[in-house]
């Protein structure tokens, strides 16, 4: 489902979209065939299940999206890379090794680097696809903490199978079951007093 939001299904032959996703405030339907998917991905970044840094330096990873957009001014790049790394709570650990290969970072650091890379182009939405499923509890905690920080600046759409993670990080929760949306509402309501029995059965561990 997450792949609809940045038109990734365009890359899979035989896939098609049904319906519309209107991105506010301008209300443009990002699924419309006249809308350029590259443009959509500029406005909507994505962080994946496994950290996927480019085989480049830490600096180049974060600067990549900006360079694709044509930014050449070195001091602007420096500033934006620093801001993005700070935004992803990686600056203190990375500032002295910006030219090192990103793959030398730990798993949790790599994931934060991917978040910095996503933040660098100042998107309106960041999609998170199971961002902590490959991480240990401490790295998971720092990513969740980070999501709590960045959600004040950018909308976060996260898919997770970890219900407690959904409860911890989100303001609104949609419960999906076999591709259908069963219930959507404020996270407090979903976890305390869901409307549908199916939702309650699932979150309390009463699987049919």
């Amino acid at each position: 489902m997450l792949r609809c939001f940045n038109r990734m299904h365009d890359l899979y032959p035989g896939h098609r979209y049904d319906g519309a996703i209107n991105l506010m405030p301008d209300g443009v339907d990002i699924l419309h065939k006249d809308v350029d998917p590259i443009e959509v991905r500029m406005r909507i970044s994505m962080v994946f299940q496994k950290p996927n840094p480019f085989p480049k330096s830490i600096f180049e990873n974060v600067a990549y999206g900006l360079k694709v957009r044509g930014e050449k001014n070195r001091s602007v790049l420096d500033d934006k890379v620093e801001a993005a790394l700070k935004g992803a709570a990686l600056w203190n650990e990375a500032k002295d090794r910006l030219n090192e290969l990103a793959v030398n970072l730990s798993g949790g650091q790599q994931q934060r680097l991917c978040i910095a890379r996503a933040l660098a182009t100042e998107p309106e939405i960041i999609l998170f696809d199971e961002p902590t499923s490959a991480l240990d509890p401490i790295a998971t905690g720092s990513i969740e903490e980070l999501i709590g920080e960045i959600k004040h600046k950018v909308s976060v759409l996260i898919v997770t199978h970890n219900m407690q993670q959904a409860a911890r990080v989100s303001d609104y929760t949609a419960y999906m079951y076999l591709g259908e949306m069963m219930e959507y509402g404020e996270t407090n309501d979903i976890f305390m007093k869901p409307k549908r029995k199916e939702t309650e059965d699932y979150i309390t561990g009463r699987f049919g």
Partner: protein, 234 residues
């Protein structure tokens, strides 16, 4: 809880905690009945027994609380499971205080016997009536908890004013005693406190019933006027 968790161990933990709440409820109900009986019959031995049992009530509260913490820490319960545990936590607090009221009545009985009140005429029958009403309320709220019965819980809440009215009547009676014979003042004041303790038992029963509604419906009906109850729950 009608249907089962994937984890049967979790089911067992939740049902064990409910069973223990009912055990504690049964014990405090017995305590109230025994305390009032001891007062009505001026039985020192029975009052002593009530005070002794109080320890068991306190112990149950601590044990159930410990089980609650363990379940929350290990299972991260949500929705109705979480509401059950929160409801149980408040329920046992109320039951423990019912136990305190019973012990208070027993101590008053000791004092009355020690001061030689024994044999004088007091409205102890009316006291027994109030105690029966409060205990019936308590039993019904525990039944409502056992069966997760919202309608029964609402009945308990609505009938609380009957116990309050009984308390007011008892108070008037005791004032009459004091006015007629000032020598009864000291003992009558003790009985005022007993009547008040019983009225509090009724309040705790009402609190229990409110928790049952919270557990089942997720609606907090505390401080809801009785005539607004139906619409709050639906």
């Amino acid at each position: 809880m009608s249907d089962k968790h994937l984890s049967t161990q979790f089911d067992a933990e939740l049902s064990s905690i409910s069973t223990r709440v009912l055990e504690m409820g049964g014990l405090v109900e017995q305590q109230v009945a025994a305390a009032v009986d001891a007062l009505a019959t001026f039985s020192e031995a029975q009052a002593t027994q009530v005070i002794r049992n109080e320890e068991r009530v306190n112990q149950l509260e601590i044990e159930i609380d410990r089980d609650l913490s363990n379940i929350i820490a290990r299972r991260q319960p949500t929705a109705r499971d979480l509401r059950l545990l929160i409801g149980v936590s408040k329920t046992i607090g109320n039951l423990e205080r019912v136990g305190d009221e019973a012990a208070r009545i027993a101590r008053t009985t000791h004092r009355l016997i020690a001061s030689g009140t024994h044999g004088r005429h007091f409205p102890t029958t009316a006291m027994v009536v109030e105690a029966n009403m409060a205990n019936a309320s308590l039993r019904r709220s525990l039944d409502a908890f056992a069966r997760l019965d919202v309608n029964l819980a609402m009945q308990v809440i609505r009938s609380d004013n009957e116990i309050d009215a009984e308390f007011d009547g008892l108070l008037r009676k005791l004032v009459t005693y004091m006015m007629e014979d000032p020598r009864t003042i000291s003992a009558s004041i003790d009985l005022v406190f007993v009547a008040k303790a019983l009225e509090r038992v009724g309040d705790h029963a009402k609190n229990l019933a409110e928790q049952v509604i919270y557990i089942v419906k997720g609606t907090d009906v505390r401080h809801t006027p009785p005539d607004g109850l139906e619409s709050a729950v639906s």
